[in-house]
Amino acid sequence: MQILSASSAAGVLLDLSGVLILLLAFACLGSKLFNRYVAYYGAQSVVLSFAAGVAAYTFDSIELWILAVATLAIKGIGIPVSARRLLVQRLDLKRDAALSTGLSTSLIAGGALTAFAYLVTRPQLLPHGLVAAAVVPLSTAVILLGGLAMVVRRHTVAQLIGWLIVENGVFLGAITLVATFPFIVEAGIFLDLVAGVLIMLVFVSGLTRRLASASADELRELQG
């Protein structure tokens, strides 16, 4: 299997996109407006598709090119646009008030999780000098930040965005760590993602019709 070295041009570009994706995850964690959540997620997906394009160019693989285009079309454009139309505008969502901690607390926790991600992916795991050694800790951090966003935010739409960020983190890792999964698997993962977003859209709009706002704060009926 081909593995990129960190000093090659492609390696530097991938490294850079990894850093951008992490920063966008932090931006999403530090924001309070629903519009921004969706916008940061869309930007993150565009950077991700760029990273996939770089990998595709380097390995000269058609499957990776298809993946990059699909990422751009579905995650970069399709999901953000439909989330904005169907959720943010139709439900008239503006400020997210359902946060269980302050923004600064969650940002500090995010910093701690990033440090933890570097701790877990120690050098024994990944040999030095590979681009993966730099990017996999970044992608682990993005996964953890997405999880943190899901925990801290209690509005269902914000939780959905958190899950999508987790998914982006896994994808970033997949691109750099193993170049690509077999294509059938990749396609299946994409299908699952789309189906998942669709079914979650149905639930969110159903919940909003039943409750005043679909914040998990109101989801208190089921306990114990």
Binding site: V120, M150, V178, F181, E221
Partner: protein
């Protein structure tokens, strides 16, 4: 043989096709049952064939069948058959009572067939990436079943289920990624590097550090689907809110499919890293699940939640058995899987009948089942003793085997702790179910009470009052007469 495998997985789709092409509720239900029966026949056929044959492998490892997958195939197909026969009765009763529309019933059968077919397909693939894809897809199909009744509480349960499970399974995808990476030293083509049989036979050459991480992530990720504590929080809500046959599918088929995925990762990890590390991981999650399950079973309340927490406990027992390991441990774990699946499916199906008759899901509202509906009451009583591991039933044998495996492979503290927890679980569970089964039926009792009250009122307002009035008048008349 490959045709037989495809048939086994595609069987439940008959119900989906029937409902999608516009069949009415009952017809779609019988179509689903026929499909499930076909799957079960295929599974039995495959299992009997499997006993004298090498594992089946096709399509570059995407199709794979060995005795382990045959066994799980049999379990899931049997549960699917039970649940789809149960669905026919339960859904038509709900539809007649006006709680579900004809459209919702059709939707139910569409997603029910899809859910079952995806699980069966997950058991037949040897590619760990495709395993993730199918398990995630089955989550989505079953989420639609949980939210079917579209009340605020069932939508809430469905949301909780889909978001927690999707997150969990995404973690398992990260685990699969690290497993894939750990095989980068092997010279295998890309699709073989995720194929379980190749990974298993080359386990000695996998990179140990990333394999460790992969196993941890897989246990946490697929453990979310299995309902291992502390990732179990979606489970009681989803089980309580889903229509009862769907709860049976969740508890007896979905959880087992998740456990199957963990067993696949365990086999590779065990072959590379030996006993110590997987045992520590599985015993920790297993005992935590048993403790959490037992603690919440003590609380009385919704009986479907009680059964759900009992599932958490049983999945914990299976994880502990896998942790003990060895031939005995594995045998106990698999036997426990089958026994629990059948007994719990029976319990959830009877719980549907109870909920329909008593119009409540609270255990305190249900009394005297044996007197009111002897068959349902008897099934509930037998089912709960079967789940608890009372001697004539299979769970007794499998739990005994697990305890023996514990004494054989690890320090005696663990099996003794397991025995103590099982005793507490027995008391907590039986306290509620025997209370539901015995006693006087409330509907009858209530009618008697109302009749008595009506008598009293009639007595007081009617004749008695007339008498009192009359005697007063008499006294009055007598008074005026004296004057």
């Amino acid at each position: 043989m490959i045709l037989l495998m495809i048939l086994a997985a595609a069987g439940p789709l008959v119900g989906t096709a029937a409902a999608a092409s516009g069949a009415r509720g009952r017809l779609a239900g019988w179509a689903a049952s026929a499909g499930a029966l076909a799957s079960l026949v295929c599974a039995v056929w495959l299992l009997t064939g499997e006993l004298h044959r090498a594992p089946l492998l096709g399509w570059g490892g995407y199709l794979y069948l060995d005795s382990l997958s045959c066994f799980f195939l049999l379990t899931v197909a049997a549960v699917t058959l039970l649940a789809s026969v149960g669905s026919v009765a339960y859904l038509s009763a709900e539809q007649d009572a006006g709680r579900l529309s004809a459209f919702q019933v059709r939707l139910y059968y569409i997603f029910f067939g899809l859910f079952a077919a995806l699980m069966l397909a997950a058991l037949e693939t040897g590619n760990l990436g495709l395993l993730f894809v199918l398990i995630e897809a089955s989550t989505l199909a079953s989420a639609a079943l949980v939210g079917l009744e579209a009340r605020a509480s069932s939508l809430e349960a469905a949301w909780k289920y889909v978001i927690i499970s999707s997150f969990g399974v995404t973690i398992a995808l990260a685990g699969t990624l690290f497993l894939y990476y750990s095989a980068s030293g092997l010279h295998l083509a890309a699709e073989y590097r995720l194929a379980w049989p190749y990974l298993f036979s080359h386990a000695h050459a996998l990179a140990p550090e990333s394999l460790k991480l992969a196993f941890m992530l897989a246990v946490v990720g697929y453990g979310t689907k299995v309902g291992l504590a502390p990732m179990h929080t979606w489970l009681p809500d989803a089980h309580a809110e889903a229509p009862s046959p769907a709860s049976a599918m969740l508890s007896a088929a979905l959880l087992n499919t998740g456990m199957y995925a963990i067993i696949r990762f365990l086999a590779i990890t065990h072959a590379r890293l030996g006993d110590g590390f997987p045992r520590a991981v599985l015993l920790t999650f297993g005992f935590l699940s048993i403790v959490i399950g037992v603690l919440f079973m003590i609380r009385r309340g919704n009986f479907k939640r009680l059964f759900a927490y009992s599932s958490v406990e049983h999945m914990g027992i299976i994880a502990v058995a896998l942790g003990f390991g060895g031939l005995l441990g594995l045998y106990g774990a698999l036997l426990q899987t089958l026994n629990h699946a059948i007994a719990k499916a029976v319990l959830f199906l009877t719980s549907g009948d109870v909920a329909l008759r008593y119009k409540t899901r609270e255990a305190s509202g249900v009394r005297g089942l044996l007197a009111a509906v002897p068959v349902t009451g008897g099934a509930l009583l037998l089912g709960s003793f079967a789940v608890l591991g009372s001697p004539p039933f299979g769970v007794f044998l499998s739990e005994l085997t697990i305890v023996r495996a514990g004494f054989a492979t690890s320090s005696p503290v663990f099996p003794l702790l397991l025995l103590a927890l099982l005793a507490v679980a027995f008391v907590a569970f039986a306290r509620t179910t025997t209370g539901m089964v015995t006693g006087q039926a409330p509907a009858k009792a209530r009618r008697e009470i109302t009749e008595r009250v009506i008598e009293e009122i009639r007595g007081l307002t009617g004749q008695e009052y007339v008498h009192m009035y009359a005697s007063d008048r008499k006294a009055e008349l007598a008074g005026t007469a004296k004057k």
